[in-house]
């Protein structure tokens, strides 16, 4: 039987892709946080670092929706400003490993050979350690701080992207359109960037969104442990860590940043999941 039957279905019907509900819901949660972060100075009712000892440890009220912390800073304002740091952290934690990993995976998948074998052994080695333990060890060596945290993430994170891209590239490398591109005399750079990469990138995007969750959680945890963001920065992890000492008198100090972290984390997780679904759906369509 021939393949002729496939496009017999109406092409216009194929163009209208139905978005899974998870993407819509998760997308709006993530979108909301991004908007809040972008317009934080406008949206936040107070200055996040303004100390007001007279109003310390006040419970949530009309004036302070999320209450105030031990030195009288408005928790709501701090949560909104914290979104800036945590989202930036996601970006800074995801982009470098994504770029490094994609480049390495693209080259090693396309050319193969000894370098490819060595890189894959390096992957096995990295994958043998638990993610957090390895990041913690590297930060421990380099010293606490956000920059060192991102360096550690890049060192550990790129291998997963490399592996992902490499697998895709190896399948695409043998496809007839890549052979056709080689046969038409295009340079390796053109073949890789124009014909291979765009078709290998789908799973990377889906994974990157899920990876952002991991980075955010790692960032918050490291902030909590005092290894990442340092106080008085309004970072959610740092805020939880700070507030945990007052949890008996003032539950709101660490609860609200915690909820913020959960909602952004869930939003990103579902978004990544939905994107993956969408991609698989498109492949089978």
């Amino acid at each position: 039987m021939s393949i002729e039957a496939v496009p017999a279905s109406d092409p216009i019907k194929q163009a209208a892709v139905v978005l899974p509900w998870s993407i819509v819901v998760a997308g709006s949660i993530v979108g909301l946080w991004i908007i809040l972060a972008l317009f934080a100075p406008v949206v936040a009712p107070y200055d996040p670092t303004a100390v007001d000892i007279a109003n310390a440890l006040k419970a949530p009220s009309v004036a302070h929706w999320f209450g105030t912390d031990q030195v009288g800073r408005d928790v709501l304002s701090r949560v909104i400003h914290g979104a800036r740091i945590d989202l930036l952290m996601c970006l800074a934690g995801v982009l470098p490993p994504l770029l490094i990993g994609t480049t390495v995976g693209l080259l090693s998948g396309y050319y193969g050979g000894t370098v490819d074998t060595l890189l894959m052994r390096l992957y096995d080695l990295t994958a043998a350690f638990p993610f957090f333990v390895l990041v913690l060890a590297i930060v421990g060596v380099l010293g606490p701080g956000l920059l060192n945290f991102f360096i550690a993430l890049a060192v550990v994170g790129w291998v997963t992207y490399a592996r992902l891209v490499r697998a895709e590239v190896m399948a695409i490398r043998d496809s007839e359109y890549v052979q056709a591109a080689q046969c038409l005399g295009y340079s390796d750079r053109v073949v890789l960037l124009r014909h291979v990469l765009p078709n290998a990138f789908g799973p990377v995007v889906a994974y990157a969104v899920s990876d952002a969750v991991l980075v955010m959680l790692a960032g918050a945890s490291f902030g909590f442990l005092g290894m990442g963001a340092q106080p008085p920065l309004a970072e959610w992890g740092v805020m939880i860590s700070d507030g945990s000492r007052y949890i008996r008198q003032a539950w709101w100090i660490c609860t609200f940043p915690g909820l913020a972290a959960i909602s952004l984390g869930l939003g990103l997780a579902f978004l990544g999941d939905g994107l993956g679904q969408l991609r698989r759906g498109q492949v089978s369509a």
């Binding site: 039987m1 021939s2 393949i3 002729e4 039957a5 496939v6 496009p7 017999a8 092409p11 194929q14 163009a15 496809s175 007839e176 359109y177 052979q179 056709a180 591109a181 080689q182 046969c183 038409l184 005399g185 295009y186 053109v190 124009r194 014909h195 765009p198 078709n199 369509a285």
Partner: protein, 555 residues
């Protein structure tokens, strides 16, 4: 080959009676009021292209449609109405009285079970045989379907068998309970032609010896004409014509049947643009050997054992003159695609050389290599896989033009739309991506892309094997026109000797990496010298009647 069965068996009551059956999936009606009958002991062919509903009607008869399908009309098997049967009643019928075999035997056999056991299963279930009895019978059945050393083969797993043997195993399992009706859905499409002939012979024997009625579904009218007494032609979910095999082939009434008959490979000669053979060949292949390294596993490496490389091409010599159309024929694994890939420098030769215009291509680099790319282009086999899914048809065709600096990007798009017109695609399709195009349309885009650099030599590697016959005929006609207009030198690679001989001037027959026979296409087809070529020719299912001679296909 024996003629179709005499119509005398057609007397009496029909074995399978399909009356006014329609099938609807959601809003799409895939079958519209289909009615036909199959008599006991009869072989009926159901012909049609993909999407014509020929498989759907047979699945409807077997109760194998998904629950989302809405079926109306009546299906009777041996006077028993089949509608509304419960799953338990179906199970009594399926495999017992009605059996089915499929196109791809590999995906219908359980890879984890020995084939003997798989053949024994329906007998244990339906005939109540004991395990050992059933296994004994399975061995006997394997012998019946022509498998040598059946006792040993019964203990094999599916992956240890060739495609033809797997199909024989499927047939053995299907006939194990002596059914009265066998539905065969494209049983030979995935097989090489010589194997195909043997499987059809087997089906014919089963029909004659056991009185087994067979519904044979195929896109290949030649196959049907060879073994069926009646043929039903379907299109768009409807029966357009049914009748005696001879009448359908020789005097088709419906225009579509006529088109289908005319599109059969070998019915039409495509002589347009055949050039006179010149003295100095444009492309020469001399003593070409291409080796693929065998996989060495870790034990081999430790023992320092050298892996024996596999010779995909072993001492091949051929020559192609400018303007000539040369066919390369062979079954899968014969090395014909390796040859194409070596000519376009995707493979390296172990020894021997390929010369274009007298110059060896192996050591070309930089500018000279680009020059080679411009002179030799290729069209690939799989219409969907050969186009970048993220680029529109127009972008795909325009890209080589501007990348080779033959025009700027805007001018390249202009030229691309002219090429689109040249391959007879409407301009509106230029904005579409491959998945919004049909297979035939994709293949036309592939041809336009290959011609964008105005090459001298065009290699076509099985470009129509994934297409329906009518589409295949259209693509061949297009190629015939293009080679005349552009004075192309064509290397046409195919497993189908009848296509090659109707389209090419000269033919090389490949087997296991060597050329076994060569010569003028007509001569190889009518008077093959080598045993292997004779076998190939004998396994062709050509329609009866003379080849329609046309001097030139003018459009």
């Amino acid at each position: 080959m024996n003629g179709p069965l005499a119509p005398s068996v057609m007397a009496g009551r029909p074995l399978l009676d399909i009356a006014d059956v329609s099938v609807t999936f959601g809003n799409t009606r895939v079958l519209k009021n289909v009615s036909f009958q199959i008599m006991p002991g009869e072989i009926v062919g159901i012909a049609g292209e993909s999407g014509s509903g020929k498989s759907t009607i047979c699945r409807a008869a077997m109760g194998l449609l998904p629950s989302t399908a809405e079926v109306t009309g009546e299906v009777c098997f041996d006077d028993q109405a089949l509608q509304g049967l419960g799953e338990a009643e179906w199970m009594k019928l399926r495999g017992r009285d009605m059996a089915m075999i499929f196109q791809n035997p590999a995906s219908h056999l359980n890879p984890l079970q020995k084939v003997g056991k798989q053949i024994a299963q329906p007998m244990i279930r339906h005939l109540g045989l004991s395990g050992s009895e059933a296994r004994e019978r399975a061995v006997k059945l394997l012998e019946d379907v022509g498998i040598r050393e059946p006792a040993m083969r019964a203990k094999s797993y599916p992956h240890e068998l060739s495609g033809g043997m797997k199909q024989r195993v499927m047939i053995a399992a299907a006939i194990s309970c002596a059914p009265r009706l066998l539905i065969a859905d494209e049983p030979t499409t995935a097989l090489d032609v010589t194997v195909q002939a043997k499987i059809l012979e087997l089906l014919k024997d089963l029909n004659r010896q056991r009185g087994l009625a067979i519904a044979l579904i195929s896109h290949d009218l030649g196959v049907l004409a060879d073994i069926c007494s009646r043929i039903i032609v379907m299109r768009h979910g409807q029966i357009v014509e049914q009748g005696e095999a001879g009448q359908i082939i020789d005097a088709p009434q419906h225009p579509y049947t006529r088109l289908l008959v005319d599109s059969q490979p070998g019915r039409k000669q495509f002589k347009a643009g055949w050039a006179q053979t010149e003295e100095t060949p444009l492309l020469q292949v001399e003593g070409l050997r291409v080796l693929f390294p065998a996989k060495r596993d870790i034990v081999d490496i430790f023992r320092n054992r050298k892996a024996m490389p596999f010779a995909a091409l072993d001492g091949v010599d051929l020559a192609v003159s400018a303007g000539e159309t040369v066919g390369i024929v062979g079954e899968s694994g014969s090395g014909k695609s390796t040859l194409a890939r070596t000519i376009i420098r995707q493979n390296r030769a172990a020894s021997g050389t390929v010369k274009l215009g007298g110059r060896p291509i192996e050591r070309l680099a930089g500018r000279e290599l680009l020059e080679l790319r411009r002179r030799v282009q290729m069209v690939f086999q799989n219409p969907y896989d050969s186009l970048n899914p993220r680029m529109t048809a127009l972008e795909t065709i325009a890209e080589p033009i501007w990348r080779h600096g033959m025009a700027d990007r805007r001018e390249a798009l202009n030229q691309a739309s002219k090429l689109l017109d040249m391959v007879e695609l409407p301009a509106a399709l230029g904005e579409r991506k491959p998945r919004q195009l049909s297979g035939g349309q994709c293949q036309r885009v592939g041809i336009a892309r290959a011609l964008a650099l105005q090459p001298q030599v065009l290699i076509a590697d099985e470009i129509t094997s994934a297409l329906d016959v009518t589409t295949q005929a259209q693509i061949l006609e297009l190629l015939a026109r293009l080679r005349r207009e552009r004075a192309l030198t064509l290397i046409y690679i195919s497993h189908d000797l009848s296509v090659v001989s109707s389209f090419c001037q000269r033919v090389y027959v490949f087997r296991s990496g060597r050329i076994v026979e060569q010569g003028a296409a007509a001569k190889v087809l009518t008077n093959p010298q080598e045993a292997y070529t004779q076998e190939l020719v004998a396994s062709l299912h050509r329609l009866p009647g003379h080849v329609v001679e046309r001097e030139n296909i003018e459009r």
